[in-house]
Amino acid sequence: MNSNDPRSTQNGSIARPEERGRQEPTDVGDLARTTRTPLEAILSRSSYDVIVCGAGHAGCEAALAAARMGARTLLLTGNLDTIAQMSCNPAIGGQAKGHIVREVDALGGEMAVNTDFTAIQFRLLNRSKGLAVQAPRAQCDKKAYQFRMKQTLEMQPNLHVFQAEVTGLILRDGAVAGVETNLGCAFKGKTVILTTGTFLKGIMFVGDATVEGGRMGDFAAKRLSKSLLDSGIQLERLKTGTPARILGRSIDFSVCEEQKSDSEPTLFAFYDTREEMFHVEQLGENRVGWGPNTRSTSCWMTYTNDQTEAVIQANLRRSAMYGGKIEGVGPRYCPSIEDKIVRFSDKERHRLFLEPEGIHTDEWYINGLSTSMPMEVQEAIIRTIPGLEQAIITRPAYAVEYDYAPPTQLQPSLESKSIGGLFCAGQINGTSGYEEAACQGLVAGVNAAAKCLGLSELVIGREEAYTGVLIDDLVTKGTQEPYRMFTSRAEYRLLLNHNSAELRLIDKAAQYNLLPEARVTAIRQKKAAIEHWVSRFEGTGLDARGTLADALRRNLQVELPYAFQALSGAIREEVLYRVLYRGYLEKDFAHIAKMKAIDAVRIPSDFNYETLKGLRNESLQKLKKIRPQTLGQASRISGINPADVSVLLVYLRK
């Protein structure tokens, strides 16, 4: 890690607005009349390596990763007070998402630590099932989460955080050269990472009322949308939504069921390989947050009823979604309450979770009640729900529609195929979720920095991490709805248990210098210990009962060596997992070995598919559109069959 004083490198690098320059129409919210600097003038100034546009969950990880790798990084956000805001529910993790957060930690990201130190409830999901599908989840204090992340960014060497709305890209020779802002100043950078969230032409719906913006109270990035279209980037619309917030003092908790925190928290970050609880570079500061699991609160459950259904049915046409106002596609796994009532009319009641937004506020989030009904209908709906009869609503539920850039326009490094140096991460790629955004931001940040530093690109395999599955799915198949990660999307699910994230990704983390050296060493030692014990169990005979490992697999009572029992829980758990699941893991390894062979065959980016004989037209069109980088990626495009892959292979070997 570079430990230079951050202030020494960052001052004076903001391009000042030039006096000369065209007048641009001003948006509401602009600080000054916009003047634009001639391109040449900007480019002659010193520039950044990486410019990150947006400081949400993707943007924060992107900026931190790039800066930690040693790239001179600028993070631009329209509002410094909404850094790392959880626009929807106040929780991090959950099934598959919790896995991703642990992978973010394994790659030196901040989300895991930030969650651990601002969480107010920890729960391990799927406790009754096997290790591979267990996942940690935490409720966070929203404001504490934001403050801590903001502070982390502020203290990060090589990183400059600045408040400005990005209004356009500056291109030169088909590659990105910088960005323009609403302040009339432009910034030049070798690479640009777009993490626009729902802000690109964002429109919010509360029944008939529509408000422009990416989030209640925020602006909409309209000019950037146009700039992207002008640059040849294709944009489409997606939709998502969030429920109302209410005051805790108006909730009758006595009629709700309590959902308590686990007594033992499952933390997201790996502390057994860390020397200190904090990242080294953050030592000695007066940090926001608290010790993990020191502040514990509960969530509460309540249910909709017949009355709720009646109110919704009577007002269905007033919903923005059912009224036909919204053209964007919403996620199947995140339906509005009106959608649930219509599609699952036989279901008597729908469960709602009341989640605290934090301990610094009395606002509560009603998980399960997202809607785009008009305000008075929302109020009527909430009043029908046991415990919420007297609820005081502080913020309405709304649906938001926004532009995204179909991610098949990206390479597996998350760099645009058409514009060199332009990276995209998060909701602009059609995903949903803080965790999905964070892992993409991290990869985009690493790759942008790698490009500037002359390193090879970071591509994580489907067999290595959910992050790899996510990005491969995005760039290979694209998405029609906001993409959320599920464990069932990973073909090697059993290899991707959350405990092993660090072990799976250590080589990549070390290669890109994403972790302090001491931690790399500690992880390597942990890995060696696990491998040692696995081979020892497989090799230790137990006379007639086979090896110790066989006995474990047959669920026999065996005495495990004392030295083993004295090891840390993380090591013991992983050793037992590998022993017990050996048959399945081996099958996966054999499969992976075969996939590696075709993944190793690279397809030149200028490969001319038109010259191929023997390819079906449908396949030809798909290959031309996706332009896979490897034969393996080509084989995963939906509709590409093994014969097409064979034909391709023959030509690639020619």
């Binding site: 591979a132 199947r332 069932s488 999307r489 004989k613």
Partner: protein
Amino acid sequence: MQFGVATSILQQPPLFYAFEWPRWALCIVLRTMKNDGKERMPYDHPGASFCALSTPPGESAIGVIRANGPLAEALAVSLAKVPYPTPRHAYFCDYVAVDGKVLDVIILTYFEAGKSYTGDALVELACHGNPLILQKVLEDLFKRGFRLAEPGEFTRTAFLNGKMDLCQAEAVAELIHARSEKALHIAERQLKGGISAHYHSILDALMAAIAHLEAYIDFPEEDLPSEDAQGPLRDIAFCLSKVKKMLATRHYSALLHEGVKTVIFGAPNAGKSSLLNAFLGEDRALVSPEPGTTRDFLAERILVGPHALRIIDTAGLHTPTSKIERCGIEKTFLKIDEADLCLFVVDATRPYPAFDAALWAALAHKHVLLVLNKTDLMPPPYPTAAPWNALPCLPISAKTGDGIDALKRAILDAVEAEDLSEDEDLIICIRHARALEQAETALADAFAKLKDGAPVELAVCDLRFALDCIGGILGKVDNEVILGLIFSKFCIGK
């Protein structure tokens, strides 16, 4: 889900050097892969070795099966019974299956890696051109770890191993394309009609089971009905029974190759052998007026309509006088027991024979036609049914050939009235059988796991494998379809 679908594309050894997975796994895999050039590989990674019939299917003098890949040398060693088979040398040997049965006498030629058509180690087995034998040999090769080659795979492997001129690339590509089109066409033809409905019903039940289990894995936070394996267990049981039923039609396909087993029996000198000869139109069976001429069984194949009949002539049934005859008669009973169809030949000029109860018991569940022979010696009218039960009665003269056509029609009706004919659309090809066998094992594993309360994600792992197997027949099943099922079945979402 894409398990195993696109993976059998390269037959190169796996790139373990580039393997970034934990060393313990590497050790385990390498231990099974150890190959110092001389030591036989006990086990290879699945799918590296493949085989196929290289001559056109159907009856022919010789059928050549080629077996390619790392397992080929071990195969040559095992069949030719030599420790180091001489390359490009023809061995005349028995084909001894893994279960010890001799399937055929073959000529085996072994080509070492680097000097074969494909460039891999290759064995050519020249068998007799009987489709049944060839199928059995292929099935045995599967048991030995070979898999069925994909269309054009031999040629493709040859190309990839540098055994072909580079300028042939386009020709190879076109060949692969054409072959896969043809394979597709064949598969489509096969999937037309009832059989595809059977596959789809398996697929639907399987996807329902997976979607159900996945919902509880991926959405532990949702308000789903309480977790219950009964539904998926029912679905899996349904798939299993369906797969088993389809696999059972392998027997029918053998029946088609081998012929419907038809046993001719009756009293001595009723003209059973004459009837066989009348069918065949030649004096194949030894005929004499002496009772008990036929002591051994004579088997012949004839075609009745589209069906092949394997006709077995038996010794006459009567109270035996010698030990040999008694032995012959007991064997006749056995043959009747195995028969798909029985022809009971009765001499029209004599009284109906009185057999003991054991015979009627043996015939109880059999398809029996009563053939009234020697009508040339007796004028009509003939009885239309046997006096002791309502068996159809067919008057013929084996000597003049009268009534043989009517008998053949009756046989045809009887064969088609069998299950065989009704389920004909079920008959599966060898490639499908292979996929179904793998699916069957995986389904059974998943069923046992669910029942025993083992981790559900392991059961899903097996089910996903089964899905890939069935998907290999019907086409890849995209994971989106399963997600779609989950979201349509369960109300999921915050």
